[in-house]
Symmetry: C2
Amino acid sequence: MELPGVVTEGSQLTHYEGTEKLLEIWFEPLRHRNGDIHGQGTPDLKVIPRERLVELMKLVHCEIVSEKCRDEHHAYVLSESSMFLSKERFILKTCGTTTLLSAIEPILKLAKDFCGFTFKTVFYSRKNFFRPELQEVPHRNFEDEVHYLDTLFDCGAAYMLGRINGDCWHLYTLDICNGQNQPDQTLEILMTQLDPSIMKHFKDTTGRKAADVTKASGIADLLPDCQIDDFLFEPCGYSMNGLLPKDGYMTIHVTPEEEYSYVSFETNIELEDYGDLVNKVLTTFNPGKCVMTLFASKTAKCGTSMKALSETFLDKYRRHDRQFSQFQTYDLTFATYIRDKKV
Amino acid sequence: MELPGVVTEGSQLTHYEGTEKLLEIWFEPLRHRNGDIHGQGTPDLKVIPRERLVELMKLVHCEIVSEKCRDEHHAYVLSESSMFLSKERFILKTCGTTTLLSAIEPILKLAKDFCGFTFKTVFYSRKNFFRPELQEVPHRNFEDEVHYLDTLFDCGAAYMLGRINGDCWHLYTLDICNGQNQPDQTLEILMTQLDPSIMKHFKDTTGRKAADVTKASGIADLLPDCQIDDFLFEPCGYSMNGLLPKDGYMTIHVTPEEEYSYVSFETNIELEDYGDLVNKVLTTFNPGKCVMTLFASKTAKCGTSMKALSETFLDKYRRHDRQFSQFQTYDLTFATYIRDKKV
């Protein structure tokens, strides 16, 4: 299979875009004006038949390569990143030159048809690509993505955090006051310029076992009580989903090639402070640069995201940017860091 | 004189871009490595000869229409907005289709030649234009402006606050850790969709006195101990500079036409909290929407800008967005508000 996102010049690989597009949609039952539930079906996204998910992945140009269930959620490792389904939450994260936005209309329809669901809130986000010109339309620039999303949603709000002439991160969400009523938090750490001695774990993978890499790299020790579904790509590359209790998850994706090395870490684990976890992740991967985002809903255990993202790692990293944004039912801290040359 | 920025279709005025471009440069004496002052000249921007400022304004496509001095600074009302010179600070704010960026290289050279100065920090900012396509290159989009600024400065950092698909505000500044070592703060309130009954003060100006408009509109009462230089344009439009003690200033510019009404308020007055002043400005102009920014340097009296911009006006206005950004020697609060329809 020729992987999307791989550019071949002659027979030489020249680029793989590890940078993911990330979609998270929260659903709720469609209701009549009097509050009665209107929709048909079982109000749980996990009832959507697997073959429908396979079709959905085809639209995005990727496929399911592994899957694991735990209590309240299903996690899928994809040929390009991951998908998570819990009762009311759908997460799709895809890298390469996948066309993630083409999944939105179909998933809204599947959720309506099988679960009687309508969307409650939506997040689409991504870091700036290494090579945007290699993406499919409308993913080549964020303005085009926003234009498409605005055709689907009435109250979309699009933001650019970080630097126009440097590392930045794009977000599209909905500006609605009843968007989220439960505790929720998401931490993402998007790392570049990774330590080649660490990236060796994820290269020359032929004949090796994913579980060994998960252990040797330190990934297995990042979070306790985590059921891991890990996958090694050939000749290089690594993905893992970790299922935590309730609908908790973590997910890591590694593009180890030095020219465009990229590692993403994401979790929704409920903590009061994320400083120690961030420190552990940075120590595990030792990136030259990273973009960090923490979303916290108004009822999240951690309080505001700025307070909860304590900078326990300033002995090794210098803060480049930090921005705190307040939305209707979430707040967000965005920050970028650069490894201190003295370390 | 045909004003730049005025589009005529047949003989009908169709648009005037009130939205200003704003440049603020702080200077300091050029020094040898041993700390000795290197530059020639008097270290005070006010020694730059007036005819050189007149030439500078020609490059930007505007001209000086009025001027006033107080102790430590000179304030100029321009055909398009304002200019302020104090010992080490240069501020140029121009609207219409002026080409503000073309003033940067010349002012850096004037400051070097006459004052032995080099720049300490730079801020270029503006709200999104009503009609960007009517601007001169490179002002049609912020990316082009950033590209130009990056040819002048090594460590520029460019940001977009607010919404890509709504009201936003652009900032270019320098990422240097010794950028500002003294207390400094700047509040801007950029208002649109203004109350037509208030805008009447600034229309049909022929034969009227600026001082009467300043008084009748309530502008005279906004800040105490303010020496005012006000100017009425014909057939409509208003500008004022207010000189406060030391190098304090306020400046207001009004484009009253209903189709593209715009009022800007800016001051560097030192306060502990800006809530009451903001409330007074909003009451004076009653805008439908506004963008607010407050910069505070690390040694500013008000502490962090977010704390200092208390929202005393949430009985009349709904917060649309709020973002807090931390730079090396300043922090910034950006917020947008919409007038509550119930009021």
